[in-house]
């Protein structure tokens, strides 16, 4: 039974989604119960998988479909990184479900089955062991994400979705070109077999292999929203329904996952002198450019949804730069940052949704911020100073809860102590100081500066929303919706007080990634590679 554990996170959502389609739109409660059961089961399965692969001396768990040998058949591989990502996906989905109980679920059809298909695609992409199935699972999750991005309809969503779909269809074409070039050179698409073959590719065709890998990389960099390929992201994410945008916060991390996996497995230190570290400089400098572009966007964002969208870009840029360095300690920190930033950004999207949605009209439901003051103009927010000490403002409980969550998000995203965002950022930045390279030092400076700008932008938004207009009528907050936010932030809090074992796990994960011999041996027993 336990050998089927690897395939279960893919099959379960597929089955549940099919059942939900059969149940139909009328019986929402049944569909919802199925979703909850599926997400709870997925969390348990992912946790079991994580325990299995993190046992002492365990190899990566390999599942050969139809028991064909790995060179001929399709394999699914779960190593520490895959198990971590699957767990993150299922925890995020489970935490978002209470929010999905809210009113906006009724604004469009088939939300629950689409979510399950998205989970299937995500889990499949994290677990697959060959490039073509990566493409297939990518298309599954993209097709589901098109539906989810348009959930609720409306002109703004549809026109943002149009760009999102066109960009992603083009990226898929680049993906296919890259995959077929790599297949043409090496004759295999299995990642482990590729890692074994790449050091022995003849000089004549190596340029073609690199071209294929670069095309593949561009497809994932579009997904990760690297500057200048990421202009679609803030608009699409700001237009999507809050719970959907929160789930999408994970999708840029999928691009990061693939770049990390392929970068270290195929073009790590063991790939021979001609191919080692191929593309890592692009990731490092591209990541820095993304970081700068995201920070500028964040400071200029005029509504809360876009602000959250640019936060996604900033975190993607930080991660890209960090994995471009290709050092074990930095990778461990980057993984910690990945987990925390995903949870925090998801919570931020939910809060933005809670603050913005009032009543039934949601065609234009993002909260806009005041423009910056022009020099010489009288301050627009005089009320902030004028009414001080005159009357004691009583803050109702839901607003206090929203305000607290908002500031917790800001602290997490900026990486300030005492919350876990600081721990993650510290784990990311500390090893960079030991690196004498100019790239690492510049990245260090940029990440710190971006943290400062995050504080500025979020403080400005928070002051305008919660303090300047005490008479602002906040929309009603339902209990179920706040449960989601509380769950996500509670997880971050848990990781603050109990960081030791997760960080230890991440360090081992990074060590495993930087020594791909384990992965290759697990998939292809008897392969000849340097450990």
């Amino acid at each position: 039974m336990s050998q089927h554990l690897v395939v279960a996170p893919i099959l379960l959502p597929l089955l549940i989604a099919a059942l939900q389609l059969l149940v139909g739109e009328k019986r929402r409660r049944t569909a919802l119960a199925l979703s909850i059961a599926s997400c709870v089961a997925l969390v348990l399965l992912a946790a079991a998988l994580l325990l299995e692969v993190s046992a002492d001396g365990a190899l990566a768990a390999v599942y050969r479909i139809g028991d064909w040998p790995a060179r001929f058949g399709i394999v699914l591989v779960a190593d520490r990184l895959s198990a971590l990502m699957v767990l993150l996906t299922s925890v995020l989905a489970l935490a978002l479900l209470p929010y999905a109980l809210g009113r906006w679920q009724h604004r469009g059809g088939h939300f629950q089955p689409l979510l399950q298909f998205l989970l299937m695609g995500l889990n499949g992409a994290f677990l697959t062991g060959d490039l073509f199935n990566l493409f297939v699972f990518f298309e599954v999750l993209l097709a589901a994400s098109y539906g989810l991005a348009l959930h609720g309809s409306g002109a703004r969503r549809v026109s943002a979705g149009l760009h999102y779909i066109a960009v992603n269809l083009t990226a898929s074409m680049l993906f296919l070109l890259g995959v077929s070039l790599i297949f043409g050179v090496t004759g295999t698409l299995n990642m482990a077999a590729l890692a074994e073959l790449i050091p022995h590719v003849p000089e004549r065709t190596r340029a073609l292999l690199h071209a294929g890998a670069a095309l593949l990389g561009v497809a994932f960099l579009i997904k990760t929203a690297m500057w200048p390929l990421g202009f679609w992201l803030p608009r699409t994410y700001a237009a999507a329904a809050p719970a959907v945008a929160a789930m999408f916060a994970l999708m840029t991390k999928l691009g990061i996952y693939v770049l990390l996996r392929l970068g270290l497995l195929l073009f790590g230190a063991g790939a021979g002198p001609a191919s080692a570290h191929f593309g890592s400089a692009w990731m490092l400098w591209g990541g820095m450019a993304t970081l700068v572009a995201g920070t500028i966007g964040m400071l200029g964002a005029r509504d809360l949804g876009k602000l959250a969208g640019y936060n996604v870009v900033v975190s993607a840029g930080t991660l890209l730069g960090a994995i471009g360095l290709q050092q074990s300690a930095v990778t461990a920190g980057a993984l910690a940052y990945l987990v925390i930033s995903t949870l925090a950004i998801a919570a931020f999207f939910l809060i933005a949704g809670l603050l913005a949605s009032d009543g039934d009209d949601d065609t234009d439901d993002t909260l806009s911020l005041e423009p910056y003051e022009q020099p010489g103009e009288t301050p627009a927010n005089e009320s902030l100073y004028a009414q001080e000490d005159e009357s004691r403002v009583v803050i109702p409980a839901p607003i206090a809860m929203l305000g607290l969550s908002f500031s917790a998000c800001a602290v997490l995203l900026a990486g300030l102590p005492p919350l876990s965002g600081f721990l993650a950022k510290f784990a990311l930045l500390a090893p960079m100081l030991d690196d004498a390279g100019r790239g690492a030092q510049l990245l260090f400076a940029l990440v710190v500066a971006a943290g400062f700008c995050t504080v500025t932008a979020l403080c400005r938004a928070g002051i305008q929303i919660f303090w300047v207009e005490p008479e602002r009528i906040f929309p009603k907050v339902r209990l179920t919706e706040s449960v989601s936010v509380a769950l996500l932030l509670g997880l971050c809090l848990l990781l603050t007080v109990w960081p030791e074992r997760p960080l230890h796990y991440l360090r081992d994960t990074a060590a495993q990634l930087h020594a791909p011999g384990n992965y290759i041996h697990a998939v292809l027993p008897g392969a000849e590679v340097a450990p």
């Binding site: 549809v158 269809l169 296919l176």
Partner: protein, 113 residues
């Protein structure tokens, strides 16, 4: 034969890219279709071109070098199916957008000069 196929792929891809950068939705969708044709032909040709060779083994296998590589053909089938489905999906969104905004522009303009 290689030259003809390469030229065909190149022309398809170039026209596709040009159409993709046009402002109206019909041109974009035709552009995407042309690019996907080019990509499919490219995948098909990646196993090496050979006239009259079978991808499937006969009863007696004989010399494997006389067969053509079957894997690119399997890959291209999957790619065609997926490309077709996603293009259809895109078409639906385009029609919705046309219904909601009243014009068929994808570049944010409303089409009035």
């Amino acid at each position: 034969m290689e030259l003809v196929l390469a030229a065909a792929i190149g022309i398809l891809a170039a026209s596709g890219v040009w159409l993709l950068l046009r402002p109206r939705s019909f041109q974009v969708i035709i552009g995407l279709t042309l690019i996907s044709y080019a990509v499919n032909l490219f995948i098909f040709s990646i196993g090496g071109l050979r006239t009259g060779a079978d991808p499937v083994l006969h009863e007696v296998a004989g010399n494997v070098a006389q067969y053509t590589d079957p894997l690119p053909q399997a890959l291209v089938l999957t790619a065609i199916v997926i490309g077709f489905a996603t293009t259809a999906l895109f078409l639906v969104v385009l029609l919705t957008s046309r219904g909601l905004t009243g014009n068929d522009h994808v570049d944010g303009e409303d089409g009035t000069p």
